[in-house]
Symmetry: C2
Subunit: 215 residues, 2 copies
């Protein structure tokens, strides 16, 4: 292993340990000493990679957003129609949030007030929903009866953001079954008559694997 | 003003000041000294009413839950059908969360991990939704097509909890317009054919006034 490889591996271990610490205690109470201990390195090694706690948090957020954006892109490239795509994307993101502590901690950091960077993954998700529903409208797949397109966007955003918020009480809220149940109720509301038949609330494809193998 | 009245007034001022402090800085960073200063009283006066920070937080939660439960009860007694009742209840609770800092701070405290008491208002809301939809089913008002009743309950809970989570970025997410838009999309999904015509997404009644006059 070269020196560069060792450094990259240490950095990755620190990010994962920081994610655990942020997830457990929140940003404010998280301790740098616990992060270096959790990664099995000295405080000096931590400070070689990260100047301070905001820098560690920014790295966790950065990894989380890269993973979430990549998963959304992979689903998008599968080229299914816009509504199916939206359902598939939520399944993929829910899986990442369930399985990857860095994604989970990074998502929460990006949405919390205490540690606000330019990044807000909730707002990014909102743009994604907006775009997919605009595409569905272009493709003639979107229902026109129930309120305008903006109402539909907000309902989908609120319901999916709500699942993540509720997960903090009970992991079941982001399970494949719950996400499927959500789409079972939302798709008939979103799809134009005739467009519903081909849609699969459980997701049309194998959901992309988590970012890294489980530790 | 009697001694008892003065004490009650001081306690109320402390609770309101604590709510502002928790809302601004979160439970962990909130300072008792800032709470007493904000209420215009000495630290000694604070300690006469509350032993420590958890005791102040518990009082804020208690006031919030009393107000939210009372608002739900007032709407329930108006005796409209179960689906309209559910929509009216969310309008009433959204108004309290918008207008009353004690309700807002208390709701968040009850849902956050750092300061967990027995109370979890999110779970209480879930029971309320469950009950109303079961009543709607009993009354023959609930659609039977889109997934089971459990799917419908979860979708309504997720969407409404999501609105409150999103409000932290942007107050518009709990505005009367957004709540109305949510029901404009959800009611056609929830209501049995024929039951939709009489339902009003904007709420059927004057929403009960906030807990206390704005300070």
């Amino acid at each position: 292993m070269t020196k560069q490889e060792r450094a990259a591996r240490t950095r990755e271990a620190l990010i994962r340990s920081a994610a655990r610490e942020f997830d457990l205690h929140g940003y404010t109470l998280a301790k740098l000493s616990a992060i270096s201990t959790g990664a099995g390195v000295s405080p000096g090694a931590l400070h070689f990679h990260f100047e301070n706690k905001p820098a560690v948090a920014a790295a966790v957020e950065e990894e989380a957003s890269t993973a979430l954006r990549r998963a959304a892109r992979v689903v998008y490239r599968q080229g299914s129609d816009a509504l199916q795509n939206l359902a598939d994307t939520t399944h993929a993101l829910a899986r990442l949030l369930r399985e990857d502590i860095v994604v989970r901690a990074g998502y929460r950091l990006s949405c919390s007030r205490g540690c606000r960077t330019d990044l807000n993954l909730r707002q990014e998700w909102q743009s994604c929903v907006q775009q997919r529903l605009a595409e569905a409208a272009d493709e003639g797949l979107l229902a026109t009866g129930h309120g305008g397109q903006q109402d539909l966007v907000r309902t989908v955003v609120a319901a999916t953001v709500g699942l993540e918020a509720l997960r903090r009480d009970n992991g079941e809220w982001l399970s494949p079954e719950t996400v499927t149940g959500l789409w079972r109720t939302l798709l008939p509301m979103l799809a134009a008559p005739g467009a519903l038949a081909g849609l699969e609330p459980a997701g049309s494809t194998t959901v992309p694997a988590a970012r890294t193998p489980a530790a």
